[in-house]
């Protein structure tokens, strides 16, 4: 291959080549790091939640004042919700999973022993809670109606039984004997673990231990209640559309609102991550477009300014493929120089990101992938100008000298 003459021709007019190489270097650095961040965010958003996200929604009710019949109100509301056509299950729930709002408290394996405490996110639900959330019980039993009780909202009293996620069970009791064991709150009130669910995400999606969750058979008294409702597949929106009016009709002297699907709630919680992924994708796309246009522009110019030279080559025997190959090889050499520098730049940029923003380290596989992509991009971009060069007639060489 005629690499040497191509190189020496490039060296005679190096500014253009250097500019393209620099562009490619910065592009590689940005694209690899951005792709890495995007992948990470998408992984985060795509994690299995353990919940039937697509078919759950919430609705809230607030009274003007606390009143004695509140418990009756909740019972009547739940009866109505469970009876709506298309509803599979409904529960009173303290806060929604994946919503960014919720409660956490310490759980002690040994009463009063600070070293044994584990903080965990908890949810208050009723006997249809597991069914509503769509979480899978893998050991023990579900809550029964007799487990569930009302508690004063300011009271620190606790139900006697809880269900925990498998991850939390193993953290609390590494020996695997969590089922049937007792944990305590800070004041020493016991709670027996009667069931273990396979997997479930809690309130805070950015928390490291998002899957360590406690479920309590508990409904808070007061003037505020939130319900979670799970519908049959495909009927969520239809039920959501009527629920506010149905509940209000039961008692107009209260406020019913906050009808939101879990899908929407979760999407809000991941909003920043999703936005970052979208914005970075846009940056990558624009960057690739700009770089490709740059290559096309410069290659076209170089073809134009070398018209006579190309004509001469053709006149003394170079074939069309030879000319195309010349420009392809030239471009490949420039790109290779660019990506060599770019690899170093990518690592440097990543180091800066890791150090300044505590982002995870770049997986090395992104660099060869990026290099391959830029090689391909370069060749595709130069193809057009190269073919135009190949179509220059040999006669040009003689015509204008």
């Amino acid at each position: 291959m005629e690499i040497r003459p191509i190189l020496s021709a490039m060296l005679r007019n190096k500014t253009g080549a250097v500019l393209i190489a620099l562009q490619i270097a910065v592009t590689l650095a940005v694209v690899t790091n951005a792709a890495h961040i995007i992948k990470q965010r998408l992984d985060l958003i795509g994690r299995p939640t353990g919940l039937d996200v697509a078919h759950i929604f919430q609705v809230q009710s607030v009274d003007f004042a606390e009143h004695v019949s509140f418990r009756e109100r909740v019972r009547a509301d739940l009866e109505l919700l469970r009876g709506l056509p298309g509803v599979r299950a409904a529960t009173a729930i303290g806060s929604m999973p994946l919503s960014g709002g919720g409660s956490a408290t310490e759980h002690y394996v040994e009463a009063g022993q600070d070293e044994s405490r584990v903080a965990a996110n908890y949810f208050t639900i009723d006997e249809q809670g597991l069914e509503t959330l769509g979480v899978k019980l893998v050991a023990g039993r579900d809550f029964r109606p007799e487990d569930v009780d009302f508690y004063e909202s300011t009271s620190g009293k606790l139900p006697a039984s809880i269900i925990v996620t498998d991850v939390l069970a193993k953290r609390l009791f590494p020996n695997g004997n969590a089922l049937g064991a007792t944990v305590y709150d800070g004041l020493g009130q016991p709670q027996a673990i009667i069931g273990i669910v396979e997997h479930m995400h809690g309130s805070w999606v950015d928390a490291e231990r998002v899957d360590e969750v406690v479920l309590r058979p508990q409904i808070y008294d007061g003037n505020f209640v939130r319900y979670a409702v799970r519908t049959e597949p495909g009927r969520r929106d239809e039920v959501m559309a009527v629920v506010e009016q149905k509940l209000t009709a039961l008692d107009p002297q209260r406020v019913v609102r906050g009808v939101r699907s879990l899908e929407e709630i979760a999407s809000d919680s991941y909003g920043a991550d999703r936005a970052m992924a979208i914005l970075l994708t846009t940056v990558i796309a624009l960057l690739i477009a700009v770089t490709a246009l740059g290559i096309v522009g410069l290659a076209s110019f170089s073809v134009k300014s070398r018209t006579k030279q190309i004509g001469t080559r053709r006149a003394i025997g170079a074939s069309r493929p030879d000319i195309i190959r010349y420009f392809m090889v030239e471009n490949w050499l420039i790109t290779t120089g660019g990506v060599a520098l770019g690899s170093a730049l990518a690592v440097a940029l990543n180091l800066w990101l890791v150090r300044t923003f505590e982002l995870p380290k770049l997986e090395i596989v992104y660099i060869p992938l990026g290099i391959a992509a830029l090689w391909l991009l370069g060749l595709l971009a130069v193809l057009g100008p190269a073919r135009r060069a190949a179509s220059i007639a040999p006669a040009i060489a003689t015509r204008t000298v």
């Binding site: 607030v62 004063e152 004041l187 209260r254 906050g258 909003g271 700009v290 300014s305």
Partner: protein
């Protein structure tokens, strides 16, 4: 002369329309992306009470657990909020010209008149000084008085939006509103007001809208108003009633003071430290003394309102601009190299190197301005896109005039920087070489 150069530049740009369009597009894209990232960053790190943010202070008391700091990763920090009992004591002090304790709660509400269905209101319970501390503008009426604070009078200030919804936007001062089980008298209606970020309460969404209504903090106990904002507790203590909660070590109240001089700041700091020492003697505040007064300006930094993601985006946006500029330099080189014969001719006919240089700078400046305008358009589109993607950024993704100026400046500077080398190269062509081959 300038006019002539402009004409020449236009001619030259028209001669290579594709190359010119590519250059304008490259600069425009670079500017557009940069401006989008910068605008969000700029507004996020804005100081909404800039004219007095060095006089308004957030108060922190370290009442937290002796065994662990409030935030493990930032052990130097005290809790962001105060306990109820500490806030009640601080409210007694008159060292600060103005002071306000506050938290948010949610109530059901309904106006006295029939026909408007009940709704939720996000309510800020705060002291009368809140409005003057943060320069809150009123459309009708005014803040309630300190006397109303003390008398626990059921008075209420509505946001402009809530007044629109409840009373159709008219002057509702004197009208009544049911909040929970009690009627509240409207004393004021706010004008448009939405500080970005919401400096006075960064705990509950720094870019959220302000609350619907405001009522006196002193009513907390009577209303048994539970916080619907952040509540953090560390102590194992029996909490069986609202009174227990108020007396607990849970932190949930934001506290702000206005201190007009360094002497006052010192005096207030001494007051906080004395109070903490006194509490230490009573068995509370077991951690080392760490009471903090942070000006509103510094508070935004301390609370890390600007997210890392936005900084990363600004960084990457500028790298993107760099690529666009490298691109432009390359294209300009190509273009000017093609003009060598023309330049040679002009030089041979007597144009000095200086005037030729100037002539080409005008051409580049033109590309720069066109690129800048395109960039602005793209930034507007980009910001609309950002608003679409992120709901919270409704107030953040707006082009502001200062930034428009910055955009044009960056565009001009960038294109001149990108243009100087190619122009210099073009002008230093020896005229004879090109004239010979013509």
């Amino acid at each position: 002369m300038l006019h002539y150069y402009l004409k020449l530049a236009l001619l030259s740009l028209r001669r290579n329309p594709i190359l010119s369009a590519l250059m304008v597009a490259a600069i425009g894209l670079g500017i557009g992306v940069c401006m989008t990232a910068l605008t969000v960053y700029h507004l996020m790190s804005a100081d909404p009470i800039a004219h007095k943010s060095d006089r308004v202070y957030a108060v922190q008391l370290d009442s937290w657990d002796v065994n662990a700091p409030f935030i493990d990763a930032r052990p130097e920090q005290a809790p962001w909020e105060l306990t109820w009992r500490d806030a009640m004591v601080l409210r007694e002090s008159d060292i600060a010209a103005r002071r306000a304790a506050m938290f948010i709660s949610t109530f059901a509400t309904r106006p006295e008149a029939e026909g408007i269905s009940p709704s939720f209101v996000i309510t800020r319970l705060t002291d009368s000084d809140f409005f003057s501390l943060f320069d809150v503008p009123f459309a009708f009426g005014s803040a309630w008085t300190r006397e109303a604070d003390q008398a626990e009078r059921p008075v209420i200030v509505l946001s402009k939006e809530k007044n629109e919804e409840m009373f159709g936007g008219e002057n509702s001062v004197g009208r009544k509103l049911l909040i929970g089980e009690r009627y509240f008298e409207v004393v004021g209606v706010l004008d448009d007001w939405a500080p970005v970020p919401k400096v006075y309460d960064l705990n509950n969404g720094p870019f959220n809208d302000p609350e619907d209504v405001y009522i006196p903090f002193s009513l907390t106990e009577t209303l048994e108003a539970e916080s619907t904002g952040n509540v953090n507790c560390w102590k194992n203590e029996p909490i069986d009633s609202f009174a227990d909660f108020l007396n607990s070590e849970c932190v949930w109240i934001q506290y702000w003071v206005e201190l007009d001089s360094p002497t006052q700041v010192e005096e207030y700091q001494a007051f906080l430290d004395n109070y903490a020492r006194e509490q230490q003697r009573l068995g509370r505040f077991e951690r080392p003394l760490n009471n903090r007064l942070t000006s509103a300006r510094d508070w935004l930094d301390v609370r890390r309102v600007v997210q890392d993601d936005n900084r990363v985006l600004v960084g990457l946006a500028f790298m993107f601009l760099a690529v666009c500029l490298l691109n432009t330099v390359g294209l300009l080189l190509a273009k000017f190299a093609g003009k060598a014969p023309q330049i040679s001719l002009r030089r041979a006919l007597g144009a000095s190197r200086g005037t030729t240089f100037l002539q080409h700078l005008v051409e580049i400046g033109m590309i720069g301005v066109a690129g800048g305008l395109l960039g602005l358009g793209l930034a507007v589109a980009g910001l609309a896109g950002v608003r679409l993607i992120i709901d919270d950024y409704e107030r953040l993704a707006r082009l502001d005039p200062f930034l428009v100026g910055v955009a044009i400046l960056i565009a001009l500077a960038a294109s001149l920087i990108a243009g100087i080398y190619p122009t210099w190269r073009a002008c230093s062509v020896p005229p004879a070489a090109h004239l010979k081959t013509q």
